[in-house]
Amino acid sequence: MNDQKTYTVSIYTENNIGLLNRISAIFQRRHINIESLSASESEIDDVFRFTLVVKVTEEQIRKIIGQIERQVEVIKAYYHTDEETIFTESALFKIKSDLLFEERQIQNIIKESNARIVTVNKEFFVLEKSGRRAEIELVYRELKPFGIMQFVRSGRIAVTKTEMPISSLLSSIGNQEETAFAKA
């Protein structure tokens, strides 16, 4: 298991209730932990995109991609290494407002980390920090001693450095569809 690596899996799908269950079951069945997961629209109308992060061997991920693509409503799935992607995560910190004014150190942390204040009110303020996991963890460690009321971090979202061939694939499918209709 030494050759395990972090892979970002991008899955383009039809939008369907239950599909997430179908995909996550593929990992669960093989006793693989999904480290993070996010779901969103994609660059293509009516096509949904799941982004997952898993730590597995390349052989494992290759087979898993095959299993994912077998699912009827999956259009295409890809896997990429960290080097092949631009990726980020986002975190929110909810902190007592008085600290913002009483603790100068907090202001420094905010400034140095390029974190953004989302909202401030009498009781609390919310800090948003996007970036690599290590950057977010650094902010977390620095703020921790002052007291964090709430903390949450999102799953990874990622785009690939090279072109994702999904658009050309879909347009070729679209052409086929037109031909199919023409035939009918």
Binding site: G18, E69, R70, E73
Partner: protein, 575 residues
């Protein structure tokens, strides 16, 4: 045919009807005339329509929903058509799961329709509500919950298309009670396209040419074929290929019967209890050609020592199977029929007499050591093999043999003779005890012109014995053979070989099976002595009605050859 055309015509025009009536029209439009099922609260609207349409669509009441799925599977395997099973919500639906899982792993086309509580009750823990979509997800090719009547035609059209295209599999459609009661403007169009779904990958001509070159230059080629040949209706193309190239060909348990067992290039079964020659020579061939099979662990034994010397060519419809267990040097994706049709002209005519002789020599070893004693024993106790031997004589290889799971299954598959494809029906991948009796019902109803013989152990028989009631009520003339060793024989065999004869919970105290069969008005006979066997089998096969034959066989016989778990195919044991 004419009638179906009228139905199609009728259904393409829009008309207002209830969801449950629409379900029936969808089934009729898909050519379904026989379904298996069990009624209950949430599926009652559909059953009410089944009552009205009983002259067009026969519903067979099984005695348990699992029986309905296995019957649908047996029907599908005997006909190549989609089997249909119906159940109510909750326990009705969960009882389908074993059959669905079996159909998934054995690539059997099946559509299951389940009733569901009304949509406003979903998630409220209503009476007989269960999340069957969630439960069935990992064991279905596709599933979908219909909550509006208007969805019914499109979703059912997709269900049938998905179930029986590409690599077939089970589809479950869950329909809420309000969707069955609701009204819709009905029009039916068959589905033949889904954007995200590529059922059959295109055949790569370059890969095909590379495969042909490798085959043409091979000195010791060997084919292992699987159910893909049968599912792809590629039997004729397959036979033409092996005959032209003169390649010894072995089968997986689900590939059996694709070509006649008597074919001179048919070298027998691979795998754990397969034949000696093809297992040993898997590790000696120079080119291994896998066609429509998936290198199951029961076939390969230890992968680290499996066919390492050989170049591997894999003909396969499912891309996820390529390089899953065995690395292919050349993968030819696509439908077996098309691939083999295109391969044929690229092959040169060839024979490999010395190589083929090796298989014959090793067969002789197996014959002398095992087969002769199985088929024509001289010891006192009856063997399972001799029962098969007599069944072969009586049916002349023309019957459909439906086997359950265990020792008798291995014996049935090893020794049954087949002349026609789609004749061997058994639970391969899942190993579902209780499969055979209901599957035999489906097979007989799907192929009523054929003799159907179920071969079952005394353990598996009792898992679905209630389906005798279906045979009784629906008058299905299947022949049932129980090979009774009063043990869960295969588990006992493993306990003997690997657990120092600690027979934990494998000995069975059985009821009087004859009385049980007679209770269902099925003619029954028990054979204890060898002298009675031939006549009893002849009588059974000659019977026009269902017949139950119990044969008391040797209690502690073992099935050999055997590749112990984790061993190499070349280390197959003869004793």
């Amino acid at each position: 045919m004419e009638e179906q055309a009228t139905i199609l015509e009728k259904t393409t025009k829009t008309q207002t009807m209830s969801g449950s009536e629409a379900i029936i029209h969808c089934l009729l439009a898909e050519g379904v005339d026989l379904i298996y099922g069990y009624p209950g609260g949430a599926i009652m609207p559909m059953y009410d329509e089944l009552y009205k349409f009983q002259d067009k669509l026969q519903h067979v009441l099984t005695r348990h929903e699992q029986g309905a799925t296995h019957a649908a599977q047996g029907y599908a395997r005997a006909t190549g058509k989609v089997g249909v099973a119906v159940a109510t919500s909750g326990p009705g639906a969960t009882n389908l799961i074993t059959g669905i899982a079996d159909a998934q792993i054995d690539s059997t086309p099946m559509v299951c329709i389940t009733g569901q509580v009304a949509s406003h009750l979903l998630g409220s823990d209503a009476f007989q509500e269960t999340d069957i979509i969630g439960i069935s997800t990992p064991v279905t090719k596709w599933n979908y919950q219909i909550t509006k009547a208007s969805e019914i035609p499109e979703v059912l059209a997709k269900a049938f298309y998905i179930a029986n295209s590409g690599r077939p599999g089970p589809v479950l459609i869950d329909i809420t009670k309000d969707a069955q009661f609701g009204e819709l403007d009905f029009a039916y169009a068959k589905c033949n396209y889904i954007r995200s779904y590529t059922p059959v990958p295109d055949v790569n001509e370059v890969a095909l040419q590379q495969a042909a070159a490798l085959i043409n230059n091979a000195k010791k080629p060997m084919i292992v074929w699987g159910q893909g040949v049968i599912l792809g209706k590629a039997e004729a193309e397959f036979k033409a290929v092996i005959e032209k190239a003169g390649i010894p060909s072995a089968w997986t348990i689900l590939g059996l019967s694709a070509i006649p067992t008597s074919h001179p290039l048919n070298i027998g079964m691979v795998g754990m209890h397969g034949n000696y020659a093809p297992n040993v020579l898997t590790n000696e061939c120079d080119v291994l050609i896998a066609i429509g099979m998936r290198f199951d662990d029961r076939v390969t034994g230890n992968l680290a020592t499996y066919a390492k010397q050989a170049k591997v060519i894999h003909f396969e419809i499912d891309p996820a199977e390529v390089n899953k267990n065995v690395k292919a040097d050349i993968a030819v994706l696509g439908d077996a029929k098309e691939s083999l049709h295109k391969l044929l002209p690229l092959l040169k005519e060839n024979t490999h007499p010395r190589w083929l002789q090796k298989f014959k020599d090793l067969y002789k070893v197996e014959y002398d050591k095992i087969i002769v004693n199985d088929l024509t024993p001289t010891k006192e106790g009856l063997t399972m093999g001799e029962v098969l031997h007599h069944i072969n004589k009586a049916t002349e290889g023309n019957a459909i043999i439906v086997s359950d799971v265990g020792q008798h299954q291995m014996i049935a598959c090893r020794y049954a003779k087949f002349n026609k494809s789609k004749s061997n029906i058994t639970s391969g991948g899942l190993g579902t005890m209780g499969f055979a009796l209901p599957a035999a019902i489906g097979a007989k109803m799907g192929a009523p012109e054929r003799e159907v013989v179920a071969i079952i152990g005394d353990g598996g028989y009792q898992m679905t014995i209630q389906e005798l009631g279906t045979i009784f009520q629906s008058e299905v003339p299947v022949k049932i053979v129980v090979l009774n060793n009063e043990f869960l024989g295969m588990v006992r065999q493993w306990q003997q070989l690997f657990f120092e004869k600690r027979y934990a919970s494998t000995e069975l105290k059985n009821p009087d099976f004859i009385k049980i069969a007679q209770g269902y008005n099925i003619e029954a006979q028990r054979v204890i002595k060898r002298e009675e066997l031939a006549d009893a089998v002849t009588k059974m096969i000659a019977s026009k009605d269902s017949f139950f034959l119990e044969v008391m066989v040797e209690k502690e016989d073992n099935v050999f050859p055997m590749i112990p778990t984790g061993a190499s195919v070349a280390d197959i044991r003869l004793e």
